[in-house]
């Protein structure tokens, strides 16, 4: 009842929706970078959307399934194959025992999410299975997956064998999520102005909204460094540290920007120029070094409305997946 890592990828970690509620201890939420993709991956296989998934980057891992199970892969497209047979993204797939999942080529996106029906057996730390690499806690032994690691499944998934036709290594189930709306216009990222937005010079405010910024190679799960025209404050500011959030765009002393991502620390003291709206964090999470971004300001109502639409669709998807799965296995 498990899978094992034959060959690890660049950075494979267990993540969920993050470790929320411990900011006062300095414990950051972390969690999946692309929370939409992680949620959908879970829903497709009949899990609750907060279940732990494997977040992978490119090059991806090679994974051996030691048990028949139902999986789904969402997020970036690393052209996944099972024993060299292509398998689709955003769709549930029954996989046979002793087959190998492999990610030969990065076509699009920066990270993807692998879920199994029922989820993985991982001890929670502070109510979450997300891996906190800095503290070496949470997830699978507080570290990225390595060669030989075995992840047990919570549920006995043997009954999916009945869905596999003889000789076939996999069976693609006939429902799929249309993710296009979420990732449409991948480089256009909507923002809400930050506390120090008005403190930028007028020229810098215009430059910020009119120019593209490029994601720097030093970007990671903690933050994206942006390369672009340096921005200036009307006068230098001395801020005492305060809380920051996923999507906060800070202005560094040399005039460059950093967007705080999932693994950001809880507090910071740099000027807060703007904040990426939550509905656009999945798009941003799928961009990678050398990709460019173009920012635009929206108001709070738009931000809340877009997010409520996403949530509504996830809700409908959850019900549909549940019904489909029940029809198949009962």
């Amino acid at each position: 009842m498990s899978l094992s890592i034959i060959k690890p990828g660049l950075l494979d970690t267990i993540q969920d929706m993050g470790r929320n509620g411990y900011g006062n201890w300095g414990v950051n939420p972390g969690g999946a970078m692309d929370q939409y993709a992680a949620k959908v991956s879970n829903l497709l296989v009949g899990n609750c959307c907060t279940e732990g998934v494997i977040e992978i980057h490119f090059p991806g891992p090679q994974i051996l399934f030691e048990q028949n199970t139902l999986i789904s892969i969402t997020g970036g497209n690393f052209s996944p194959t099972l024993n060299d047979e292509p398998i689709p993204l955003w769709q549930p797939v029954v996989v046979r025992k002793n087959t190998v999942l492999h990610f030969p080529k990065q076509l699009r996106g920066a990270r993807c999410y692998i879920s199994v029906h029922g989820g993985f057996c991982i001890d929670k730390w502070l109510h979450s299975v997300s891996t906190n690499l800095k503290a070496g806690l949470g997830g699978f032994q507080g570290r990225p997956l390595r060669k030989g690691d075995e992840l047990s499944f919570k549920e006995n998934t043997v009954y999916f064998a009945g869905l596999l036709k003889e000789e076939n290594n996999l069976q693609i189930l006939p429902w799929r999520v249309n993710e296009e709306k979420i990732y449409r216009f991948p480089h256009e990222i909507a923002l809400i102005p930050g506390k120090e937005w008005e403190q930028l010079t007028e020229a810098s405010r215009n430059q910020f909204l009119e120019n593209n910024f490029t994601i720097h190679p030093s970007s990671d799960r903690m933050g994206y460094h942006l390369k672009g025209v340096p921005l200036e404050l009307q006068q230098s500011m001395n801020l005492v540290s305060s809380a920051v959030s996923f999507g906060t765009i800070q202005l560094l002393p040399e005039g460059q920007l950093i967007v705080l991502m999932a693994e950001h620390q809880t507090t910071g003291g740099y000027p807060r120029i703007a904040h990426v709206i939550t509905a656009h964090l999945p798009k941003l999470a799928q961009l990678q070094p050398s990709d460019c971004v173009q920012f635009k300001m929206v108001d709070m109502k738009d931000a809340e409305y877009l997010l409520s639409l996403q949530e509504k669709e996830l809700h409908i998807l959850q019900r549909a997946c549940h019904d489909h799965l029940n029809e198949l296995v009962c």
Binding site: N20, G23, G26, V244
Partner: protein
């Protein structure tokens, strides 16, 4: 007490109330009072709150808040109103009334990589710097940056120094200073503060509740120990 505050969005899922962007005990006491009020008067969709020097930020699920409180014009408006109430209704309890927590620090060379450099920069002897660092009781103003990292203040103005231009690798237990602040790194981490010693104490233990040894409002003082004592305490 403070008589002014500002409430502003920290994105679409968090709101901050700021009492003045300064390091002051009375403001920090009020931040703590507001946080207590908010936890006691929590709302559906509330996720967490982070207390900092002079501000409190409330994190929430905007969809849940919107669904549960449809009469508000937006989730942001609803949470902003709760923070306003927290400001108006919370009662300050002075913190740190207990005895200071005493933390041993070894200021000897192998564990104090920046002490000589600092002494040179500040035109003082290392002993003077150690004396300045150990002759005050500090307050924990906030926890942040790393799990269990306590921001302690204020240090003597004679110790004030800007942060290093670039962060360097720092060992767990290292005691650093910058500005009018001092703190202890709970984990190995890159850090930009000047390291003047090391404390043989565990500041973050995931098996304890709470895992962080220090909490906002605590009083802390440092006392010097020798390298030998450090070695003995470190093994405990």
């Amino acid at each position: 007490m403070t008589d002014s505050f500002e409430i502003f969005p920290l994105g679409d899922s968090a709101v901050t109330i700021d009492l003045g962007n300064t390091i002051r005990e009375d403001l920090n006491d009020k931040v703590l009072a507001m946080q207590r009020w908010l936890v006691e008067n929590s709302f559906e969709g509330y996720i967490d709150s982070i207390a900092a020097y002079s501000s409190l930020s409330a994190f929430y699920d905007p969809v849940e808040v919107g669904r549960r409180h449809p009469s508000s014009s937006s989730a942001f408006a609803f949470v902003s109103e709760r923070l306003r109430e927290a400001y108006e209704q919370s009662a300050v309890r002075p913190a740190g009334s207990g005895e200071p927590i005493r933390i041993p620090v070894c200021y000897e060379a192998p564990l104090a990589p920046d002490l000589l450099l600092l002494a040179e920069k500040m035109e003082r002897t290392p002993e003077e710097i150690i004396h300045l660092h150990t002759s005050r009781v500090y307050r924990v103003y906030m926890i942040g940056f790393l799990p269990g990292f306590a921001y302690l203040g204020e240090t003597s103005e004679l110790l004030a120094i800007p942060r290093k231009p670039r962060p360097v690798p720092v060992n767990a237990g290292s005691v650093g200073i910058t500005g009018r602040q001092t703190g202890i790194y709970p984990l190995d981490s890159p850090g930009g503060w000047y390291i003047i010693g090391r404390a043989p104490v565990v500041l973050f233990d995931p098996d304890l509740t709470p895992p962080a040894r220090l909490a906002i409002g605590d009083a802390v003082e440092f006392y010097p120990i020798t390298l030998k004592e450090f070695g003995r305490l470190h093994l405990l």
